[in-house]
Symmetry: C2
Subunit: 189 residues, 2 copies
DNA sequence: GTCTATATCGAGATAGAC
DNA sequence: GTCTATCTCGATATAGAC
């Protein structure tokens, strides 16, 4: 329990490296070099390489779970709920694209916390599926395959981390609105 | 230049392992064990671990390039071209989901062939962008942000490999058609 | 809080027998 | 075509001085 800021610095630097090469290909020496110290010094702040991955992924996963609860407890209609979920993804991906990369690509390298992560992830997917089914039932959405709709939306949202860093000074509301238009309204005239 | 089938066997087995853990986390000993032989024996068939990754990724990348040429040289309209591209992705992802995983997640571990891969990838993206712009200009598509449309479609298509293996006995035409409906027509009523 | 030194392990790859 | 034996390197992590 030394300085908490140094620990955060290490975690944030690690996330950047993980995004470029993936968890397995990043060494503690790489991380140390990026921090300007020696590898052994890292261990005064973090317990292990594995612990760094846990911090990054579990934090974001719980943030999504929390955001989903807010949406579910709201009295928004189906379209508005989907819009809120899109905005949730844009917001988190914009605030922490490196963490999103680790969550998407390196979760399988989690050890103790892997099952917990998978539980949160599955619950999250179920919740979106529920919203889509409700929308179809209430005739707010076209009667399309729930699986295909879920997959299409979620694939796009999960890939946001790849795309967002390229745009500087992103307007979260504008991108969320553009994405909603495309994902919900379609593209053909 | 020993038996060519043994080499293919190794490459296909490697692709499966790469899909589960990523290139960096798979060892030549893992691969050998999955093949039922010793690690040293692998080197009678392949030159290096890196060469395996190259085979997997470059083959698929060139397959996409070829498919795109066919679409571009056709006299299809914008919507039909997009439908053809969707079908191209479904078809390749269905035939080789493991290879698609490597292409999506492990291309950064390519060495000599990395730049070549990135060139093919960028060219492919430019071609889709061209088709979308053309569609907007000809009033076949809504006047939406080209970037958002491109990103949304491509993110979904690039994620197909995650989703397709779960469905057994996939009907390529049916999924392509369902996906086209959602991606092009939208979901709201 | 960072260092040097080091322990231990497993990685990719080669040599040469069978 | 596969094996055993081995080389060399770099990985995570710890001990203990400053």
């Amino acid at each position: 329990m030394t300085t908490e800021t140094r620990k955060s610095e290490i975690i944030n630097t690690a996330a950047k490296l993980f995004k470029h090469k993936g968890y397995s290909a990043v060494t503690m020496r790489d991380l140390a070099q990026a921090m300007g110290i020696k590898a052994a010094s890292l261990y005064n702040h973090i317990e292990s390489k594995q612990a760094i991955l846990e911090y990054i992924i579990i934090n974001i996963a719980e943030e999504f779970t929390l955001g989903m609860q807010t949406v579910l407890n709201s009295d928004l209609n189906t379209i508005q709920k989907l819009e809120a979920i899109i905005k949730l993804h844009v917001s988190i991906a914009n605030q922490n694209p490196e963490g999103m990369a680790a969550l998407n690509n390196d979760w399988m390298h989690l050890e103790e916390r892997r099952d917990y992560y998978l539980e949160l992830r599955q619950q999250y997917e179920s919740n979106i599926r529920f919203i889509i089914d409700e929308g179809i039932a209430k005739n707010n959405l076209k009667n399309l395959s729930t699986d295909v709709v879920l997959f299409s939306i979620l694939s796009t949202l999960r890939s946001l981390y790849l795309w967002i860093p390229k745009k500087d000074q992103l307007d979260v509301n504008e991108l969320s609105s553009d994405l909603s238009e495309v994902l919900i309204g379609g593209i053909n005239k």
